[in-house]
Each structure stands twice: as structure tokens, then as C-alpha cells.
Symmetry: C2
Subunit: 146 residues, 2 copies
DNA sequence: CGTCATTCGATTGTGCGCAATACAGTTGTG
DNA sequence: CACAACTGTATTGCGCACAATCGAATGACG
């Protein structure tokens, strides 16, 4: 019976990546209670705040690497909560534009301190965060090619 | 109108982490088609193969940081697929022991090359993988305390 | 021996994440 | 204009992930 050292959970990159993401998401969920946002909803709001103008569903999907099967119901929940409005683009009726409401824009100040609070919970120095972030971006880029 | 540079998607660690995990999971899904395993199911199998003996649901949960709400249905699907058997522990009737079937054990050889194939898809040198893995483990440890 | 807190797992309900599919609207081509 | 190909979004179905809750089994304590 051969052994399979390469299948050891702790030797692989995949599991720490998977576990760390869920741990970070859980921290965000804790900091976002009170805003009514989930973590993926928060990411969508980040894109909308950054854009400063209506954004199509596909643009959101490209930025966040999510497809319409994920975004459509998420955006409907954001609309139901009064954070965004959804309307067809008059220029091209296939497109749906997502626009912040006043309440959606106001939320930005309420979460402005979230990244800082997260960083303190993670307790990593700035250089570790930067190198980790950059290595992850390299990884993503490589997987895109494959 | 104040600006919120700290809310920029690209400056934060959270988004690359989130996106990289989904990219890696997608790669695993591709390599695991044919085995009938999903990525979380593959992780459960890794733990069972490593243990070499029946494992309780809670032990699986501790190792993988997943709760019974996730594991119970996942294990039922693995049982339905003939990979594992579930039975109450005679010593303590509250516990459920998860045991590999012959088919479940046999699967190990079939996926033995998956980590190597993943590593080649990720195209990172060994030292990057190790440092990334270790930094993620540090991150997880810190979030546990918080 | 009762009983009371704890442990273990299952269940329920909500929200992703994604493949596959459907379909309306748009564009290209002759 | 006719019509085929393409685009952008929505829908469906399945499988996680997790909070909250429940109920059975156990163990500690008086």
C-alpha cells in the first residue's frame, strides 16, 4: 500500500487559502452586521462607490469575477434593501444599469473604517499584507492563463 | 464629498484572497471531474485518507473548520455515492463515525497527481508556495484569537 | 438515583457561486 | 430587408457555508 505524502492537507496551498478566506469572510460578516450587508454585497458596493456612476451587471461581473447567476439575485436583494436601483439601459436594452440610491451612497461612510478594523484583527504588518496581496494577484493571473 | 481611498478594492487583501480561492477551487473542480468529487468533498476525503481509521463528524469539522450544517449533507452525498459509510459510535451514541468504503479508498490513487497538476497550473515556484501557505496560516491563527 | 448542563449531530433557512440553459435585443452579412 | 450569429441578462438546479435551533445521549453533581 503506497503512501501519498503529496495529498497531505497541511502541505498544500489550497486548504490554507480556503480556510483563510472563510475566516476573513466571517470577520467581515461580523463587522458588517448593522449595515445589513453581506460580504459579497459589500464588494459590490465597493465597486459602485468607486465607479461613481451607474455600472452594468457585466461590468460588475468582470470586476468581481462573478457571473449573472450570482449577481442577479444579489442585486435584487440590494434593490429590495433600498441600496441600489436597477434599470434597463436606454442605449442597449439588453444591459441593466445598477445605480446607487441615496441610502446606498450614505452607507459608504458607515463602513469606511471596516478595512482598518479588519487589518487590526488580522494583525499583520503592512509589508506582509502587501506581499500576500501581490502573490495572490500573481496566482490569479496564472490561473487565468491556464 | 470625502473620498475613501481605504475602500479601494485593489488595495485590500480581502478581494485577492476571495478571488484567488474561487479561481483555485475552479481548477480543482476541473481536475476532479471524472472522480465525481467536489472540492470540499475532496478535502473531506483527504482527511479520511490521512486518518486511516473512522473519524467523527466533529473531528472532520475541527480539521476543516466546517460545521455540521455543511458536513452532514456533504457526507450524505458521499455516502450515496458509495465513498463512505456513516454509523453511530457504539461507545457514544451521539457520535457518528465516517468510514471509507473500498471504493473510497481506491479513489486515492486516482487523485494522487491532482496537487502536482494544480501546482503546475498555478506556476509558482516552490518557495512562493511555501511562503504564501505559511503567511495564510499565520493569518488564520490571528483571526482565531480575534 | 434524579436533574441539569453539556456535547453531538441533524435540521432549517438564507445567501452565495457556478454550470447550463433560455431568451430578448443587437449586430453583421448579403 | 432577411436572417444568422452574437451579447447581456435572467432562470434553474445543485452544492456548499453558516447561524440558529432542536433533540437525543452523556456526564457531573448533589
Amino acid at each position: 500500500m503506497p503512501d501519498f505524502p503529496q495529498l497531505a492537507l497541511d502541505q498544500q496551498l489550497c486548504f490554507p487559502l480556503y480556510a483563510a478566506t472563510r475566516a476573513v469572510t466571517k470577520q467581515y460578516a461580523a463587522l458588517l452586521t448593522g449595515t445589513g450587508l453581506t460580504y459579497p454585497q459589500y464588494l459590490v458596493m465597493l465597486v459602485l462607490w468607486e465607479a461613481g456612476e451607474p455600472v452594468t451587471v457585466s461590468a460588475l461581473g468582470n470586476r468581481l469575477r462573478l457571473d449573472s447567476g450570482t449577481l442577479t439575485p444579489l442585486l435584487k436583494r440590494l434593490e429590495l434593501a433600498g441600496r441600489v436601483e436597477r434599470r434597463r439601459d436606454a442605449e442597449d436594452e439588453r444591459r441593466v444599469l445598477i445605480e446607487l440610491t441615496a441610502a446606498g451612497r450614505a452607507l459608504r461612510e458607515q463602513v469606511a473604517d471596516v478595512p482598518l478594523r479588519l487589518a487590526s484583527a488580522m494583525d499583520l504588518d503592512r509589508s506582509s499584507v502587501v506581499s500576500l496581496r501581490d502573490e495572490l494577484n500573481v496566482l490569479i493571473a496564472h490561473l487565468d492563463d491556464a
